[in-house]
């Protein structure tokens, strides 16, 4: 399994999509840093004119942190989808797996090797992105992270890397059962569905419509990627201890914060995905 994981990591890191996303990350850090710098200067100007503005700082700061985390999550989702969706399906189609499956290794080690190979690549890049955004916000937007403890930082990092891992798990499930294109379409649709579900849940919370909230919750059970993002935001801003947290609305705000059970559910979801992928591949005729 380790041989396959190493090969998958090396292969994933060599893929053009990885290099493109790495370049996009650098460009993102540059632009995001500039935006934070401008916002910081504007905030200082406001403070100088009207005195300290905690409400505005909370609203703007939350949106700035949220936009950074959202874009980074989106990049990670793209990488998880584009790099891994063909890792099983296309290798079955082009015959690359024929010489591997016929070796004295269980089929499960092929799937696990691929998962850990791509997973470690996603985790490495994810942690780099996460750390970069936190550092930039510490420098230019410190108030929003003022309550952040090491525990919340580590918990936040775990949630951040769980997002692409969930999509990787789904890619493995559908990639081991369907053709590459079909698997790609299905996982992308699920990802979009998750985003729409999260939006519905937040809107439902804002307008006090329980039915909308419930629809959002059901969708987040089907695909928990957006719920993870909302949870990430509440953890990083330590929302339960922040009296101004209720002001953190807007596109990246959290009206209905997911509970910690959602993280446990997501871990189980990920394990179920892996189990299903192993089952599919075990039964697969190549």
């Amino acid at each position: 399994m380790l041989t396959l994981a190493r090969l998958t990591f090396a292969e994933g890191a060599r893929k053009r999509v990885f290099l493109v996303i790495l370049f996009l990350c650098l460009a993102f850090f540059l632009l995001y840093g500039i935006a934070l710098d401008f916002a910081s200067q504007e905030m200082m100007r406001l403070n100088a004119l009207r005195g300290r503005q905690p409400v505005i700082q909370q609203i703007v700061g939350n949106q700035l942190l949220g936009s950074g985390m959202y874009f980074a999550s989106f990049l990670m989702a793209l990488l998880a989808l584009l790099a891994s969706v063909g890792s099983v399906a296309s290798e079955i189609e082009n015959g690359l797996l024929h010489a591997i499956v016929s070796k004295p290794i269980p089929r499960s080690s092929i799937i696990l090797g691929k998962f850990f190979g791509y997973g470690s690549m996603l985790v490495s890049l994810g942690l780099l992105l996460f750390a970069g955004i936190v550092v930039l916000n510490r420098l230019y937007n410190p108030q929003i992270l003022s309550l952040l403890t090491p525990f919340h930082l580590v918990y936040g990092a775990l949630i951040f890397i769980l997002q692409p891992l969930v999509l990787l798990g789904l890619s493995m499930v559908f990639g081991s059962a369907l053709r590459t294109l079909t698997a790609g379409v299905v996982v992308t649709v699920l990802y979009v569905l998750g985003t729409v579900g999260g939006f519905l849940e937040q809107v439902g919370g804002l307008v006090a419509k329980p039915s909308l909230v419930n629809v959002g919750i059901v969708i987040s059970l089907v695909i928990p990627s957006d719920a993870l993002f909302r949870k990430l935001m509440t953890v990083l801003t330590v929302a339960q201890e922040n009296p101004l947290a209720s002001l953190s609305l807007g596109p990246f705000g959290v009206a209905v914060p997911p509970s910690n059970l959602m993280i446990i559910y997501t871990l189980l979801y990920l394990m179920a995905c892996l189990g299903l992928a192993l089952y599919n591949f075990h039964k697969k005729d190549l």
Binding site: L7, N94, G95, H98, A99, S102, K103, P104, I105, P106
Partner: protein, 326 residues
């Protein structure tokens, strides 16, 4: 011991296609050829034996162990029909990767890589990326991958399909060397001339069913025929040969003689020309050839050449695949 033993091995797709009830016995140390028309189920059988397809029913044993036993694959090499390898790796890296998958230690892999590269004539290209190899070179490196664990059993699915004539000759020689070392080679190929040279035993699959397995030369010898080149001959001289139980199957004048025969006929000459003719007789057994020759000589026929005939594998194959399924 049998290298491969299957018992009613079946693979169907929703009840259709694939292959059915294949009971095969491949002795150790032989080059075994698998033949059949396109879509007959040959690749399905090979894929089942190497673990790419799940059998619908039936049993199989590879090197004395159940084919589901993964440990047996340490001694099994496989070159897939649609060979495709990680094109971003160098030839040497690819062999190192597959060596690890075979469970070889790094020291074993280091020792085997130069050997197998030498066997397939790829030493010079080992440092190049697989993506830069020609198709023939990719097939050679695939063969090197299959040879890596020093296998006791080698499954080769169309191993020379991408090779030029020189490459084919080299692979043929390699397979002969492997056979000399006591390895078993299970060869699936459409190139009957190749199988004819290399294989001792064959199996023919038609419409998913096994229609023949055994020594093809033995099969070819079942119908004994002898070709005799004679000089001037008239039909009455041949009667004595026919009386001795030798059936004349065909006769034809040779080369220029045929034109002369036409000329002599038109001039009212003898029925057959003064020149040489080729006669084809069916004989009851191989030992009857001297008797046939004696009877021809006794009839006053001059004999220039006698060649016992053995059917080609191609002819036998066509006989099997074109006859109606009983």
């Amino acid at each position: 011991m049998l290298a491969i033993e299957t018992e009613k091995l079946t693979k169907t797709y929703s009840g259709h296609g694939g292959c059915r009830d294949i009971s095969l016995a491949v002795p150790c140390g032989t080059v075994f050829g698998l033949l059949g028309p396109n879509g007959a189920g040959k690749s399905t059988l090979v894929k089942m034996l190497v673990g790419l397809l799940q059998a619908t029913s039936g049993q199989a044993r590879i090197l004395g162990r159940p084919f589901s036993d993964l440990s047996v694959r340490r001694k099994v090499g496989f070159l897939p029909e649609n060979f495709r390898y990680h094109d971003w790796l160098t030839g040497e890296d690819l062999l190192r990767f597959h060596g690890a998958l075979f469970g070889l230690s790094p020291a074993e892999v280091r020792a085997r890589i130069p050997e197998v590269l030498g066997q397939v004539g790829m030493k010079e290209q080992a440092a190049q990326r697989v993506g830069r190899y020609s198709k023939g070179m990719q097939q050679r490196i695939g063969l090197a991958v299959a040879l890596l664990p020093d296998p006791e059993l080698l499954f080769l699915d169309e191993p020379t399909s991408a090779l030029d004539p020189i490459g084919r000759k080299e692979v043929r020689e390699l397979l002969e060397r492997l056979k000399g070392q006591g390895k078993t080679v299970f060869l699936n190929s459409h190139l009957l001339s190749e199988l004819e040279t290399l294989c001792d035993q064959i199996a023919i699959i038609k419409q998913g069913c096994l229609v023949y397995q055994g020594d093809w030369r033995e099969l070819a010898r079942r119908s004994y025929q002898t070709k005799v080149v004679v000089g001037d001959v008239i039909p009455s001289q041949l009667t004595s040969a026919s009386d001795g139980g030798f059936q004349l199957l065909a006769q034809r004048p040779l080369g220029v003689a045929s034109e002369l025969e036409a000329a002599t006929r038109s001039e009212g000459g003898p029925a057959l020309s003064r020149f040489r003719h080729e006669l084809l007789f069916r004989i009851p057994e191989q030992g009857s050839v001297p008797t046939l020759i004696q009877s021809l000589v006794a009839s006053g026929i001059d004999i220039y050449e006698v060649t016992p005939q053995v059917d080609s594998l191609e002819k036998l194959f066509l006989q099997f695949v074109t006859q109606e399924t009983e």
